[in-house]
Amino acid sequence: MTDTLTPVLTDNWDADRAWTLASYEERGGYAALDKAFAMTPDAVIDTVKDSGLRGRGGAGFPTGMKWGFIPQDNPRPKYLVVNADESEPGTCKDIPLMMASPHTLVEGVIVSSYAIRANTAFIYVRGEVLHVIRRLQRAVQEAYLAGHLGKNIHGSGYDLDLIVHAGAGAYICGEETALLEGLEGRRGQPRLRPPFPAVAGLYASPTVINNVESIASVPSIITNGAAWFAGMGTEKSNGFGIFSLSGHVTNPGQYEAPLGITLRELIDLAGGMREGHELKFWTPGGSSTPLLTPEHLDVPLDFESVGAAGSMLGTRALQLFDETTCVVRAVLRWTEFYKHESCGKCTPCREGTWWLTQTMARLEKGQGDEGDLDLLLDQCDNILGRSFCALGDGATSPISSSIQHFRDEYLAHLTHGGCPFDPAASTAFAPVGAPA
């Protein structure tokens, strides 16, 4: 049996000065480099393919397959870009990883770049996390000085430059083509695909874009082998992942476990819901994944099972809300978020989120009528799958799922003439056991 929790990426976070090269190397860090350099790049790709690692940024696309799409006969330079723009509401795993152990990511970047034959790599990190950026800058500097980056790394003949690039505040840059636009110094608006980044990405060159956690997982796969990784998790969702528990749970935080663990198990590990309260609704993978309810507590948290339950695994951003929380207020706030973050490129997302927000705001204030719920669902139908990228789709998820599960609560706002909840009761600093 695999253990319930499997700390790999988080394993050194409690080490003294874990972010330093000394600490990282003391625990065997950068050993994966020599092992990788002893393999051919294709063999590295095959190992990652065999491990079954799937993208940890939300979509779950097989990482090794993505690498295999890079046309190696293309004469242009190849690039690796790490998506460290973690901004999906509820998602909070990459930021602590880069803060505590930036070298894990740097080591992963080197191995991954070697595999796809890139000589330049970028970490596109959101700008709003100053200390994380400091730690990344320092780690890269240390890695250069130690010969892990630069020319002829470890005598292998392989060269790699790594650039830490700070973003400037745009959720949409988590979308990989918008991220490339940002990295090229443009407005972060998604690009038309095809061509896909693997063919024409950064500077119209073949480019792999991977999430922080995906890349950070690579050194452990190289070190311990594909079978080790594939031995964890479920049949189609291999390996471990960081599960981020937040909200009305006793011990919120990062729990690294094999994919397939259930929320019930995780809440249990986290000391249960906060005292005197019970779970009302939750997101499995950030606000863009449809809400689930306590009836889904035993759904294995892997790509397939969460999908079958009508949502998405996403980034394993488990935001837990108890019965003190007004779902309409929660959804309105997310809707406002999507409106604020809509890039403006396509009509349904730009105009739709503008309108959704107004409809939601009226409902939250107890104005409007039941017809507004049908209008909301029809607006969502006109956005979902009609938008240029997934941001618009994400905006509809909380709305349609909340109406599906909590239609009566919307209606209660109408009959109550406003929100029937006390917002103070849901705060972290509310008196213990305060009634809803």
Binding site: W13, H131, V164, G169, G182, G185
Partner: protein, 240 residues
């Protein structure tokens, strides 16, 4: 080649200073293609000017050989770039759903009241700019407040008021998971890729980041291999 139609070809505009011009060029030169430097260059402009100024926009345009309209389009797309002067400390209260529910809304209201400013406004003494911000990837520390993009975790209205009072009084304030707070302009300089000396301050991880690890340690759970192991693959691979 500049696109400036006014014929300022080759003539640098004054305003930013030689050092800043040189640093902006240095940023552009970090990248395979210069234009990639635009985002950090705009951070640098903010570190010098306290906001995005016309001089900053024009300097970026000239160095990168693009139009000022294009720079403006970028500068207005990203929310960290500010059109109005920012105070010494940018205080961002997360009011995305989870933090809002957990108390962010009340914190934000309290700070507006306490500082007597609205959203995206600066106190009269020029010390504090208050803004509500979107999810900052610290949900396990909700409700969260950012000061100059450093984490101030697990805030309450009272603790938030204390933070801004200390900042206005010039007292040293530490991030709950990081270093002594620097000024907003100093922070912007780091974002432009010019590190300061604070990387080693603060812990590796806050308590919530370690919550799962603590449980695993207590239970003796592992992933069945450690980083130095070389032959242990598949050790725990029996069950799927």
């Amino acid at each position: 080649m500049s696109h400036q139609p006014n014929g300022a070809d080759g003539l640098e505009r004054a305003g930013l200073g030689e050092k800043t011009w040189a640093e902006m060029r240095e940023i552009a030169d970090r990248y395979p293609e210069k234009r990639s430097g635009l985002l950090p260059m705009l951070h640098l402009v903010q570190s010098v000017e306290g906001r995005i100024t016309p001089e900053g926009i024009e300097a970026c345009a000239e160095i990168l050989g693009i139009s000022a309209a294009e720079v403006n389009g970028v500068a207005t797309f990203y929310t960290m770039y500010k059109r109005k002067p920012v105070g010494d400390y940018h205080v961002g209260v997360c009011t995305n759903t989870l933090c809002a529910v957990m108390g962010g809304d009340l914190i934000f209201e309290r700070l507006k009241d306490h500082l007597d400013v609205g959203n995206d406004e600066t106190t009269e003494d020029g010390k504090i700019t208050l803004e509500h911000v979107e999810c900052n990837a610290a949900c396990d520390y909700a409700p969260v407040m950012m000061v100059n993009w450093e984490f101030m975790d697990n805030q309450t209205p009272e603790s938030a008021v204390q933070v801004v009072d200390d900042l206005r009084a010039g007292r040293e304030v530490h991030s709950t998971r990081g270093p002594r707070l620097c000024t907003w302009r100093e922070a912007e300089r780091v974002l432009a890729g010019f590190p300061d000396d604070r990387a080693d301050e603060g812990p590796a991880a806050g308590p919530a980041s370690l919550a799962g690890l603590a449980v695993a340690r207590e239970k003796g759970w592992t992933a069945g291999a450690d980083r130095s192991a070389t032959e242990s693959s598949g050790a725990k691979g029996e069950s799927k």
